[in-house]
């Protein structure tokens, strides 16, 4: 592997003495298929502290969900090969036996999923599903305790009349309420780490904002570390402290939310920013889609995985982009900002070529 794993110090600037809650180092997830092994995630490293939010952005198939499911240990051991290191609160999860893993799952770390209608069991009442999540990690608790806890959590996430709605089935809830119930179920055991896999993708825009607010409130209350997986940069801007941009199973850019959104240094991140419509932007601003499709992970492109779709690869001398995988190196400005690109001065290219296209008014301001 040619990627350079990030060192812990490079990411956790000014970290507390206890260190980050979640540390992922050089994670690689491979699925053997009939057509050969598919490496869905490789050389991925990041860390999240308690009370902080990491946003993971990327297109479908970029490995964002696969990497988070690896953290939760949700991959079938028979069909996924996982290497590298995942440590939660100091415990190494890669290779941890199933019963210990199960004790952590839903307890110290929880995950909420994109489509709550599909992710909740259609045949069990909401309350029963919450109680089950509580009881499995509180073997001494009574059913009555569990029910009280379920009602309390439903109330906390803003379900009206929780003592009555606790006996509803998922299909009797609205989309937003289902996602709230899902969040209540994730947080019922007060997990230190919460992974939200596109928690607002299936919701109306107005409900999206409510759910994001709720997640932020709860994070402050529980002081949990949050990973939010999304392809929506709006969600990132709202929620994240740090951002990890993934492409074809690799981290291509990493930095604080400000660095990623204002001074991105990787053409793929530029592409993501260019594809965001902004209702308030001047009508001169263009919406520029990234050409092409995400690559097949079965036969990933040589060199930089993004080079077949990159419009800036001609600025790199020779055929470096198509022959050599660029290492993840510190960006030109800002500490802890890492990017994977062969461009000599990506910042200059962004300022002179990309920004005028996507945000002409912003360029005016800076002049």
């Amino acid at each position: 592997m040619t990627s350079v794993p990030m060192t812990q110090s490079s990411m956790s600037e000014g970290s507390a003495s206890e260190g980050p809650l979640l540390v992922v180092e050089d994670l690689k997830v491979t699925f053997p298929t009939e057509d050969g092994p598919v490496t869905a995630v490789s050389g991925l490293s990041y860390s999240v502290e308690r009370g902080k939010t990491l946003g993971i952005v990327g297109e479908s198939g970029s490995g964002k969900s696969v990497s988070s499911m690896a953290v939760m240990g949700l991959h079938d051991a028979k069909s996924a090969q996982i290497s590298g290191s995942i440590r939660v609160g100091g415990t190494e999860l890669v290779g941890l036996n199933e019963s210990k893993m199960r004790a952590l799952r839903g307890n110290s770390m929880a995950m909420i999923f994109q489509d709550a209608l599909a992710a909740l069991h259609p045949f069990y009442k909401i309350g029963k599903q919450l109680e089950e999540a509580y009881l499995v990690h509180h073997s001494s608790a009574s059913k009555r305790d569990a029910r009280r806890k379920a009602i309390e959590m439903l109330d906390r996430v803003g379900i009206p009349q929780p003592d009555r709605r606790v006996d509803d089935y998922p299909h009797q809830f609205s989309g937003g309420m289902r996602q709230r119930a899902m969040i209540a179920m994730g947080l019922i055991n007060d997990p230190a780490l919460l992974i939200a896999d596109e928690p607002t993708t299936a919701l109306d825009v107005t409900v999206q904002a409510q759910i994001l607010d709720l997640l932020q409130d709860l994070q402050r209350e529980f002081n949990s570390a949050v990973i939010i997986i999304t392809h929506d940069l709006g969600v990132i801007a709202e929620m994240a402290d740090d951002v990890l941009v993934m492409y074809a199973g690799r981290c291509v850019e990493y930095g604080t939310v400000k660095q990623i959104l204002t001074a991105p240094e990787m053409p793929y991140t530029w592409g993501l920013l260019s594809s965001v419509p902004d209702v308030l932007a001047s009508t001169d601003a263009r919406l520029i889609p990234i050409p092409g499709n995400p690559p097949s992970l079965l036969r990933p492109p040589s060199g930089c995985s993004f080079h077949p779709r990159c419009v800036h690869s001609d600025k790199v001398p020779g055929d470096l982009c198509s022959t050599e995988l660029p290492p993840l190196l510190p960006a030109s400005v800002g500490a802890a900002h890492l990017r994977r690109c062969h461009l000599a001065d990506p910042s200059a290219v962004y300022q002179s070529e990309v920004l005028p296209e996507i945000a002409p008014d912003l360029v005016e301001e800076t002049r």
């Binding site: 939760m72 949700l74 199933e98 199960r102 004790a103 952590l104 799952r105 839903g106 307890n107 929880a110 995950m111 999923f113 489509d115 599909a118 992710a119 909740l120 069991h121 259609p122 045949f123 089950e132 999540a133 499995v136 990690h137 089935y169 299909h171 179920m185």
Partner: protein, 335 residues
């Protein structure tokens, strides 16, 4: 819910009425008159002009609607049937007298129900007992060699026609290997002839039905289970830290059972309505065999009785399936 059941029952009565009319008409205008068959048999094929007597006795000299009217009247209020100057008082629900045995059909039907129900319940019990757990086990080992071997061998068995399968089972176990336990097949009343006679007489039929049904139910269960286990809520259950057993059975099988129960309800209704091949091959005096004999003998009252019995059983079992379905799946509300 109540209104739904009433509605379904009313439509069920309509179906039964239509079935009875259709059978009556088919027999009345069919190519060989029941009177001819009965006459030929009772006069040793020297029927000749005596056909008229038989037609009169069986009511074939009357218009069809009049005879059908008599049948319906018999079902609801009973009627008096005259056979060779003997009057028989047939109380409601009267299903008439058999053309062949001259015995009341209703009593004969009631006599044969225990045999058919014994076959159906025993066979269904066996195939559910083995089919569902094997299906679950195969789904959990999906794609492995064991799963593939199981699925293809079961597919092989279920692609043999059932009558051939049952016949081979009977031939091998009773004739070729002469296993005494299996040899005396048939229905014996568990009360008058003892439960052991009942059990050993029906056992082979259960085995044949059980194995054949098991292959099908294994495949249904496996398919439903593979689908259920790939659902998002299974991943949620896993992410909650639930033990594998809870995930597979409480979350997976609970969902997979819904389609299996639906198929089973209809299958079981069909079994209860009479298993013609099973009863014929294993010489069980049940409704299936009886209906087969009745068709061969053009015994219209018996054909009517068995057909109406099947229709009623199927309608009830379909209704029960719908009710059970709404209980199993809270998203389905009957209205």
């Amino acid at each position: 819910m109540f209104a739904y059941v009433v509605k379904r029952l009313i439509s069920g009565v309509l179906v039964v009425a239509l079935v009875s009319m259709a059978i009556f008409l088919l027999f009345w205008y069919g190519p060989s008159s029941p009177a001819q068959t009965v006459c030929d048999r009772e006069t040793s094929n020297r029927c000749g002009d005596r056909i008229e007597i038989y037609e009169r006795t069986l009511g074939y000299d009357n218009p069809v609607y009049e005879e059908y009217g008599k049948f319906v009247q018999g079902v609801f209020v009973g009627r008096t049937i005259t056979v060779a100057s003997n009057e028989y008082e047939c109380t409601a629900p009267c299903l008439g007298l058999s053309f062949v045995t001259k015995q009341p059909v209703k009593e004969a039907l009631v006599d044969r129900i225990p045999a058919t129900f014994s076959v159906a319940i025993g066979g269904a019990f066996l195939y559910l007992l083995f089919g569902i757990p094997i299906g679950v086990a195969a789904a959990r080992r999906r794609g492995t060699l064991a799963d593939k071997a199981l699925v293809s061998s079961f597919l092989f068995i279920s692609s043999i026609p059932y009558y051939l399968f049952a016949l081979l089972t009977w031939l091998y176990l009773t004739i070729t290997f002469e296993i005494p336990f299996f040899s005396n097949t048939g229905y014996f009343s568990p009360i008058t002839e003892g439960p052991w006679a009942w059990f050993s007489g029906l056992f082979l039929a259960w085995v044949a039905l059980g194995i054949f049904g098991c292959t099908q139910y294994t495949r249904f269960t496996r398919g439903a289970m593979v689908e259920a286990l790939s659902e998002d809520y299974i991943r949620t259950a896993k992410s909650k830290g639930l033990p594998t057993r809870t995930i597979v059975y409480k979350h997976g099988l609970r969902a997979a059972l819904v389609p299996v129960v639906t198929i089973f309800g209809i299958d079981f209704g069909t079994l209860l309505a009479g298993t013609i091949f099973t009863e014929r091959i294993f010489e069980i005096q049940g409704i299936g065999w009886w209906s087969l004999q009745a068709v061969q003998n053009r015994d219209l009252p018996v054909v009517m009785a068995t057909a109406l019995f099947s229709a009623v059983v199927l309608i009830i079992s379909n209704l029960l399936v719908d009710i059970v379905y709404s209980v199993l799946d809270p998203r389905v509300r009957l209205s």
